[in-house]
């Protein structure tokens, strides 16, 4: 069992948990993820390791409640435990060798972006960070990001905080202003990553994205997480999750992510609205 020793609500649907997992904490690097299962009837879902403490033997996960399993996870409290937790999975991110990096995070993608931002900063790169959300309440990790960025830009779609508009507006400004950016890292909703990939292509700047394909095992044995990169089939869990954004077929990814929509709605309505034990109403 993997005990939750700390829980923090970052935004109404955005939560952080710190979990005891000494074997994973000992090995994890920025870019790695884990797969967890809450209980015997639960599904396996992947979450990025947002932070870790090797001495304490813990890892930190930050997640947005989007459906049944993430909502269930959000209802767990300190002292509760996860039934299964496996990792670290995926290839970690290449951090060394960059001088100026723009880190772009959208929505819950900001949580996934944070450990990479921190790693680039600690490795000595100049780090310009952009984070955006739909509205003010959904902005997360501003102080944390500020501490590991040379410059921090914030956007909201509705203008309730920071720049009124999209993260790509700022990205374009920064690319115009700095002609020595050697890497853009973009993590967030698929349309946002696609827009960042297209923009950086115009500027000839390398762009790394982190893909969120649907997973089961996370070890390369099911092929469910396959994505098309440069015309070839790749398994996100073992070949990724980070890929060259200029080569990713985002439309294919988007289609695959929607395959279980009906099931996802069904399992949610079953639990929440028919007198289940949940506390979401």
């Amino acid at each position: 069992m993997y005990r939750i020793i700390r829980k923090k609500v970052l935004a109404p649907t955005m939560k952080l948990i710190e979990v005891e997992a000494p074997d994973i904490a000992a090995k994890v690097l920025p870019g790695n993820f884990v797969i967890l299962r809450i209980d015997e009837k639960g599904e396996r879902i992947p979450l990025t390791v947002a932070d870790y403490d090797r001495k304490k033997g813990t890892i930190t996960l930050i997640f947005q409640e989007v459906g049944y399993t993430t909502k269930h996870l959000g209802r767990l409290e300190e002292g509760d435990a996860l039934l299964d937790l496996v990792g670290p999975l995926g290839e970690h991110m290449q951090i060394e060798g960059y001088k100026k990096v723009i880190c772009v995070g959208g929505g819950s993608g900001t949580a996934l972006l944070y450990p990479k931002t921190k790693a680039f900063y600690e490795a000595g790169a100049k780090v310009l960070t952009i984070t955006g959300a739909r509205t003010k309440e959904l902005l997360i990790l501003l102080d944390e990001l500020d501490a590991v960025s040379d410059e921090l830009y914030v956007t909201t779609d509705d203008g309730s905080y920071g720049h009124h508009g999209f993260v790509t507006d700022i990205l374009k400004e920064l690319l115009d202003k700095h002609d020595d950016v050697d890497l853009v890292v973009a993590i967030g909703p698929v349309p946002m990553m696609k827009a960042c990939a297209e923009l950086t292509r115009e500027y000839g700047v390398k762009c790394i994205v982190s893909l969120n394909a649907i997973m089961v095992d996370g070890t390369g044995m099911c092929g469910g997480c396959r994505v098309i990169v440069g015309g070839e089939t790749k398994f996100t869990c073992v070949d990724g999750p980070a890929f060259d954004g200029h080569l990713v077929d985002f439309d294919d990814l988007m289609r695959r992510l929607s395959y279980y929509k009906k099931h996802e709605e069904e399992v949610l309505s079953n639990e929440c609205c028919s007198g289940g034990e949940c506390k979401c109403h």
Binding site: R44, D84, T219, C222, T233, R255, R256, Y260
Partner: protein, 463 residues
């Protein structure tokens, strides 16, 4: 009493009923059935049957014990060679192994060795007994992978007095027995009890632990393990590299079966893992995996087709599975091979395009090579395609342990029958060495490796 020419029939769930549930199809002999079938065995002086069994189960001896109603003795004899008889009795391809060589089979049907083995094992599982855990005094051994090869090696090593830890990537032990082979063919309760037994022997199971990720082989040695047995199986799905394979609705058999068996998607939404099966499903392949996928799809409400590029005669699946699949209404398209999967604007499968094949000269496997017939393409409307054309070895361990040599197919190179690899103290066996094979062969490899590890560690201590 004259000998009965035919096997005592196996009671089965009616095919019309069973396609609506996931309960076991073959119900097992009664004691009377078992005694009747045991009588058919001639107790041969030179039992040919035994040569056909990869682990050399003393077949006439255990059947003789059944005749004498000494079931305790029967199970003891079985377990002397086979740690998992309840499983082998159910899934061994007996027609190619023990039963193939049974003398009764020359004129009549062979003795139903597998069914008798299953009966004795089930009798044993159903009684209460205490297992003494053996005191571990001989040092620490690590086993990687909790499939049949790993579990067998772990049990044998524990019995020899080693402190054994099994590291398993999944959240459940059993390997293919839990994620691949469906409930209706091998109830998971049986695998669970066999795993319990192994734990009672004192074996420690570390689930959710991926060697190559959570720890490497070298780190296991640093942690004080003196030898390692790699039994990571052939878990990598092969695709066909034809257009449309990424469409929604195309599954690898591994994904399809893992969702249904391991994650229990057939009980969605009670269990939270979804599976989406439409009206008609095409399964590509002709082995056990294809049969399991086709019969599973049927139980999820689909019309189920198997598309196989050779003829029925060449199908590698167990005879019983082909028979059961037909009985249940799975339809077969022999001598056909997919060339394209066709999708709609939403990126979902709507049809499959195939080409007819004919058989040419035999290839390396001795089976006649299928050759496409030009201009013979046809299209069938389907909602799902399940690809069951085979699995490759899992590369995680070799990739992170460069001093373990592999072949160009990705299997681990072993120097001998014992499974010794090119790295000192590291042994390997099962599908990771042979490529996708059978449960009993994997177990055989586990047994031989356990003996070899014992020898290796004993010698090391003397030197």
């Amino acid at each position: 009493m004259p000998l009965k020419p035919n096997k005592t029939p196996m009671p089965v769930q009616d095919s019309k009923e069973r396609i609506k549930n996931f309960n076991e199809v073959a119900l097992g002999y009664s004691e009377a059935d078992a005694l009747k079938e045991a009588e058919r065995c001639l107790n041969c002086k030179k039992p040919l049957c035994k040569q056909g069994c990869p682990v050399e189960v003393p077949i006439p001896e255990f059947i003789q014990a059944i005749k004498e109603k000494d079931y305790e003795k029967a199970i003891e004899i079985l377990k002397s060679k086979n740690n998992l008889p309840a499983i082998c009795g159910r899934v061994c391809p007996q027609e190619n192994q023990c039963e193939k060589y049974c003398v009764m089979g020359k004129k009549h049907e062979p003795v139903a060795i597998g069914r008798l083995e299953r009966w004795v094992a089930d009798w044993d599982l159903n009684r209460k007994k205490e297992v003494k855990s053996i005191e571990a005094t001989k040092g620490k051994v690590a086993v990687v992978g909790a499939g049949p090869a790993g579990l067998t090696a772990a049990a044998d090593l524990a019995k020899m007095g080693y402190k054994v830890t099994v590291f398993e990537a999944f959240h459940k032990a059993g390997g293919v027995l839990v994620y691949g082979i469906p409930e209706f063919r091998l109830p998971k309760e049986i695998v669970k009890r066999e795993v319990e037994y192994i734990k009672q022997l004192g074996v420690e199971l570390k689930l959710n632990f991926i060697i190559g990720k959570t720890k490497t082989i070298d780190e296991l040695f640093e942690d004080g393990y003196e030898a390692v047995f790699i039994a990571t199986g052939a878990g990598l799905p092969r695709f066909m590299n034809i257009p449309g394979e990424n469409l929604n609705g195309v599954y690898s058999a591994n994904e399809f079966l893992t969702r249904v068996n391991l994650m229990k998607a057939y009980r969605f939404p009670e269990y939270k893992t979804p599976i989406r099966v439409g009206k008609r499903v095409a399964v590509i392949g002709g082995g056990n995996v294809a049969m399991d996928a086709a019969r599973t799809a049927l139980r999820l409400g689909a019309e189920s087709y198997v598309i196989y590029r050779r003829s029925e005669k060449e199908m590698p699946a167990r005879l019983e599975e082909i028979h059961h699949a037909k009985e249940e209404g799975v339809k077969f398209k022999f001598l056909a091979n997919p060339v394209e999967i066709i999708g709609n604007e939403k990126g979902e499968v709507i049809a499959i395009k195939c080409i007819d094949m004919e058989l040419g000269e035999p290839d390396e496997s001795g089976r006649r090579r299928p050759i496409p017939k030009e201009g013979s393409e046809w299209v069938m409307e389907v909602d799902n395609v399940i690809i069951a054309i085979g699995n490759s070895p899992n590369p995680l361990v070799p990739r992170t342990t460069p001093d373990i040599e592999t072949t160009k197919w990705g299997t681990i190179v072993v120097k001998n029958e014992d499974g010794e690899t090119t790295k000192e103290g590291v042994f390997a066996g099962g599908d990771i060495v042979t490529g996708a094979a059978t449960v009993i062969e994997a177990m055989g490899a586990g047994k031989r490796a356990a003996r070899a590890i014992d020898q290796y560690l004993t010698n090391k201590k003397i030197m």
